[in-house]
């Protein structure tokens, strides 16, 4: 079974995000890393391909400056190869534009299953994967907390407001996974060494046979959100519970 995993490479979330004051798009400079959200997808794909007894896991990523930092991490986990689309014309791409590019790249791998995360850590639009599915003419099951393959059917426990639904869908299909669907492995030393030699096919938009899609939205203003003020801080010396109770009393919730 061939699985494609969409992996986003993002600035380290530990360093706060920045918007370019002129273009008002996300600043993506310096090293990019594998989005933690997508590590779950990579692990899921590896486990499913393994259980199916064969097939490859291919990574697909769109990132500026031919960035491969995050891809190497996912290759070290065990993915076989990667397709990277990197093109100046994609600067400031919105989710639909991204989806068009990813869909064109995914087509090349002819997958049985496409996996993405429910949402990325930096952009968190949560729409890219479904847009990809629609562009590829695939059914999709989103918010998976458990995924199994049974012959040519994918069986998913999909989170809902009330609990979860068991959903079945014939392959090929796209599935988005939540954190907690599986525990991502740490790349082994052997994996890290092997990753260095794995193929990364770096493409321009033109190579995909599509035109640079137009972006239909723009940022018009950026401002800091109103900040909440910190209140009183009390160090517990055995009686802090009294402060809590008094506070609740004052608010009339007790």
């Amino acid at each position: 079974m061939n699985v494609v995993v969409c992996v986003k490479q993002i600035p380290d979330p530990a360093t706060p995000g920045k918007l370019d004051p002129n273009t008002k798009t996300l600043v993506r400079e310096g090293k990019l890393i594998l989005d933690d959200s997508d590590a779950y997808g990579v692990e899921m794909a590896l486990q499913l391909a393994d259980k199916a007894g064969g097939g490859e896991v291919t990574l697909v990523s769109m990132a500026p400056n031919e960035e491969v930092g995050g891809l190497r991490t996912a290759l070290a986990m065990g993915a076989a190869k990667a397709i990277l689309v990197s093109d100046e014309s994609l600067k400031g791409a919105d989710a639909l534009t991204t989806a068009k590019v990813l869909a064109a790249a995914i087509k090349r791998a002819e997958p049985d299953l496409v996996i993405a995360a429910t949402e990325s850590t930096d952009g968190y639009t949560g729409t890219t994967p479904v847009q990809v599915a629609e562009l590829l003419g695939l059914p999709a099951v989103t918010f998976a907390k458990h995924v199994e393959i049974d012959g040519s059917t994918v069986k998913v426990d999909r989170q809902t407001e009330a609990g979860y639904d068991e959903v079945e869908c014939p392959l090929p299909a796209l599935v988005t996974v939540t954190a907690g669907v599986v525990e991502p492995r740490y790349p082994s030393f052997k994996g890290i060494m092997a990753a260095k030699g794995k193929p990364v096919d770096t493409l321009k938009v033109g190579d995909l046979g599509i035109e640079a899609p137009a972006v239909g939205q723009q940022v018009v203003d950026v401002a800091a959100a109103e900040e909440r003020q910190a209140g009183e801080i009390v160090v517990d010396e055995g009686d802090a519970h009294e402060r809590v109770v008094a506070f609740l009393e004052q608010l009339k919730v007790i």
Binding site: G17, Y124, R158, A162, G163, A225, I233, D236, A240, V244
Partner: protein, 320 residues
């Protein structure tokens, strides 16, 4: 620019439109001329009165979807209307499971983008978005042709009745969406919950990794019960399997705006805070004085949850 006609995706739970649906209808009335709603699942007539009371004049109803996930069939029905000449200026959907699926599908079908994580929307066509975990507000606008798709975060707008009569229900046909519509629900599982709903409760008591182990979540439940509130959780303990996902507060979980939010053993990651910093009052209990949660707490207790919580519970029990 004003919005001529606004469509709202009306989600129904337990036979009633969700709170967010009513928020979206209220906003739609404020920015638009005509307000119309979309429902699916065969409950259009049952909710037409409520939808009308919040401003919808018409309800498009796809009827029962035969077990299909709503994303594909609802988007297909909407796209057919738009392509047939019945197009709104804007479409508002909630940042919810089905809302995101429908908006994503529709976006690709109509080749228009989606503005996501919307927390504000004005009739000049600009929307506000909370980015970087809610620390920055970005204003954005569409540059192309309508319809404009907005995915709105719950609790962004107040819900107010308009006093309108029941909306007129129109049954719409769902075009055959072929292979894309092949995902089917075979079994639903509802997780039992007692007490008020997390996103409606006046008091929310949440626990995080600082509780140390799953069993200790019972302290959170006990305190929530004493305060007639709902228990909530950080993602760390949801991922660890201590509590179901439906307890999660934050960017990928619920947005809550209770009178009091009590965070116990939660560090205050931006992704958690974006879901609760709209609370009127925040109490935090954390043993680390440097924990970011203290920067937004009205009352911060630097202490051990295992010492403080049992005493709070005991004090409340003795008052009862």
């Amino acid at each position: 620019m004003a919005f001529d006609k606004v469509w709202v995706l009306a989600e129904v739970a337990d036979g009633k439109p969700t709170g967010t649906t009513l928020e979206l209808l209220t906003k739609a009335r404020e920015i638009g001329g005509a307000v119309e709603a979309w429902t699916w699942g065969g409950e259009g007539s049952a909710v037409a009165a409520t939808l009308g009371a919040y401003g919808a004049t018409k309800v498009y109803d796809t009827g029962d979807l035969g077990g299909a996930l709503p994303g594909v069939p609802v988007a297909a029905a909407m796209a057919a209307q738009v392509q047939g000449g019945n197009a709104p200026t804007a479409i508002l959907a909630a940042t919810s499971y089905d809302g995101r699926d429908i908006a994503g599908r529709l976006s690709a079908k109509l080749d228009v983008g989606v503005l996501t994580n919307v927390v504000g929307l004005s009739d000049d066509g600009t929307s506000e978005h909370a980015v970087f975990g809610g620390t920055t507000v970005v204003k954005a606008a569409f540059t192309g042709n309508p319809p404009y798709l907005f995915l709105v975060r719950p609790k962004s707008f107040a819900a107010e009745e308009s006093g309108g009569g029941a909306a007129e229900v129109t049954t719409v046909e769902v075009p055959d969406a072929g292979a894309t519509n092949a995902a089917k629900i075979v079994q639903r599982h509802v997780e039992e919950r007692i007490g008020p709903k997390l996103d409606e409760a006046a008091v929310v008591v949440s626990g995080g990794r600082g509780l140390g182990e799953a069993e200790k979540f019972s302290m959170i439940e006990e305190l929530a019960k004493l305060l007639k509130g709902a228990p909530g959780a950080s993602r760390a303990i949801v991922d660890a399997g201590w509590v179901p996902y439906s307890y999660q507060v934050g960017q990928t979980g619920k947005t809550v705006k209770p009178t009091v939010y009590i965070a116990c053993g939660i560090s205050g990651a931006t992704q958690h805070m974006v879901g609760m910093k709209g609370a009127k009052n925040i109490v935090a209990i954390n043993k680390d004085q440097e924990a970011p949660i203290f920067s937004i707490a009205d009352l911060g207790i630097v202490g051990d949850v295992h010492k403080v919580l049992p005493k709070v519970i005991e004090a409340l029990q003795s008052r009862a």
